[in-house]
């Protein structure tokens, strides 16, 4: 409990003026433009879009600038912005199988139809700081090769043809889709709500949980069946137009984890799956999400629920960094009255203790 206090208005105004000045920093240094943030800090922008749960590069860049690079603050700003706009409806589900691929790798099959495509990746870099980037640099033109029209089917689709992996759960096209921004969360939650929660979830939280499953806390033997990044087209069934209108394309990262088997007396064993999907090029997020998605399926797959990553109430209640930061940071707000009552109680307890102490000593003697 905290109570409203008045009296700090002038100090608050001046603190915000100071913040604006500090944000700008040394005036001799050129000011950042949103284009610079969007182009050169692109992965930070992707993270703010994913966890802010709003696909808009320019807004995410603005939020990063306003938040002085504090990505959780930026995510908070983006979430607050989305509450100011009406929702026109929901898109048709995107088809990641038809993605215009910019990166696509599989750690389960060397030769996949369409090939392994590294794209722009940190993988295989030496992780040595590059002094050249300290100055201005003009990198070489990217290499070029003949573009291929070969289809790039999802690795899970290939495994499915042989019945080696479980099918994805299906639903009728007009079946309602759970939306945690509209209805309060109840447990147990269905897979649609879990995936929505994980898609908005803090990357660090999911990374730690995913890591914990690998270290034995809810082990489920994952392979990165496929990770792909690229652009997908978005269609929206527009009521006024009377048909599905194209809205443009968005960049997505998808991760298909392939996990150990499940079978029964009547069903042959087959691989199980965990799924991750995130805005932009967000590979660590998509992989962590897929690990946790699979861990959260423990009870559905008849596994013991013993580890934190398998506990959906624990995971889903603590995954949102805007909620988490709100509750942690509210401790900064005045709690003067609460603290006064605790202080009063403590003084009384200490007085009682002092009073009882001599008697206790006598009794001991």
């Amino acid at each position: 409990m905290y109570v409203a206090v008045k009296g700090g208005e002038r100090a608050i105004d001046n603190a915000h003026r100071l913040l604006a000045d500090t944000r700008r920093g040394d005036r001799a240094v050129p000011e950042l433009t949103l284009d610079q943030i969007s182009e050169q800090l692109a992965l930070g922008v992707d993270r703010v879009m994913s966890e802010g749960s709003l696909y808009d590069r320019e807004l995410a860049a603005l939020a990063i600038k306003q938040a002085r690079g504090d990505l959780i603050e930026a995510i908070f700003l983006v979430r607050a912005f989305r509450a100011t706009l009406p929702r026109f409806g929901a898109s048709e589900p995107v088809d990641t199988g038809a993605m215009a691929i910019q990166r696509r790798i599989s750690s389960t099959f060397k030769d996949i139809p369409g090939g392994q495509i590294l794209g722009p990746t940190f993988d295989y870099t030496h992780r040595l700081l590059d002094p050249q980037l300290a100055g201005s640099c003009d990198p070489a033109e990217p290499a070029s090769a003949e573009a291929s029209d070969a289809p790039t089917p999802r690795v899970t689709d290939i495994l499915r043809q042989d019945g080696l992996i479980e099918d994805s759960p299906v639903a009728a096209d007009d079946a309602p889709v759970g939306d945690l921004t509209r209805e309060p969360l109840n447990f147990p939650a269905d897979r649609d709500l879990r995936l929505q929660n994980l898609a908005r979830a803090d990357e660090g939280f999911l990374l730690a949980l995913g890591y914990s499953t690998q270290r034995g806390y809810g082990r489920n033997h994952p392979f990165a069946g496929e990770i792909r990044f690229g652009e997908v087209d978005v269609y929206f069934e527009a009521e006024d137009a009377g048909f599905a209108v194209p809205l443009g394309s968005i960049a997505l990262t998808e991760c298909q984890m392939v996990n150990q088997f499940k079978g029964s007396a009547t069903e042959a064993p087959r691989f199980t799956r965990g799924y991750g999907l995130a805005f932009g090029q967000s590979e660590r997020k998509a992989m962590s999400m897929a690990l946790v998605d699979r861990a959260l399926r423990a009870s559905e797959l008849g596994e013991d629920v013993k580890a934190p990553a398998q506990d959906e109430e624990f995971v889903m209640s603590h995954s949102d960094n805007v909620q988490a930061t709100g509750f942690v940071e509210h401790l900064k707000l005045p709690h003067y009255v609460d603290f006064q009552s605790e202080l009063g109680l403590l003084r009384k307890l200490r007085a009682d203790f002092e009073q009882a102490a001599p008697q206790m000593q006598e009794a001991a003697e």
Binding site: D56, V94, T96, D111, A171, V177, L180, E239, L277
Partner: protein
């Protein structure tokens, strides 16, 4: 809204929806300034009245469990939209990702003109086609750069023979 819908389905009967979608897909991928410049080259355009003033909103983007299963809500995107009617009656709709209301209006105008017998050819050949060519060139350049990062595995033969 009802009148708009009735008229649009009437219009849709005249021009295949697929052609309108194809044009909209090109326009949605372009900058407003690029569309405006192409439209400007066409000279005088017919008058129109706005049926829906350009507005910003959100669309919830959906994915599928496992990529191919039941739908789930991934997160929202900003979207702008507009609707207008030409003096000759054709109704056009403009939808695009982002917050550019001018772009939504320009797309709606192109959609309406595409349905008008007098303007369809000019829109198709002088606006859509060149913009599509630019997009295709950019897409191809990106695809070529991506293709250069494709791994060519080769098998090492052990020298035992």
């Amino acid at each position: 809204m009802k009148t708009v819908q009735a008229e649009s389905s009437d219009q849709a009967a005249k021009l295949p929806v697929a052609r309108r979608q194809a044009a909209m897909a090109v326009l949605a991928a372009c900058e407003a300034a690029a569309i405006d410049a192409r439209l400007g080259d066409l000279g005088a355009l017919p008058a129109f009245t706005m049926l829906r003033e350009p507005e910003q909103g959100l669309v919830m983007l959906r994915g599928r469990v496992g990529g191919d299963g039941a739908a789930f809500n991934l997160g929202e995107a900003t979207v702008s939209r507009a609707a207008l009617r030409l003096a000759s009656g054709e109704v056009g709709f403009g939808y695009t990702l982002g917050r550019d209301r001018t772009k939504a209006r320009l797309i709606a105008l192109c959609d309406a003109l595409l349905q008008s017998a007098g303007h369809a050819a000019a829109i198709e050949t002088q606006v859509i086609a060149p913009l599509r060519a630019e997009l295709e060139a950019r897409r191809l350049e990106k695809a070529r750069q991506t293709a250069a990062t494709k791994v060519d595995f080769y098998t090492l033969v052990r020298g035992e023979g």
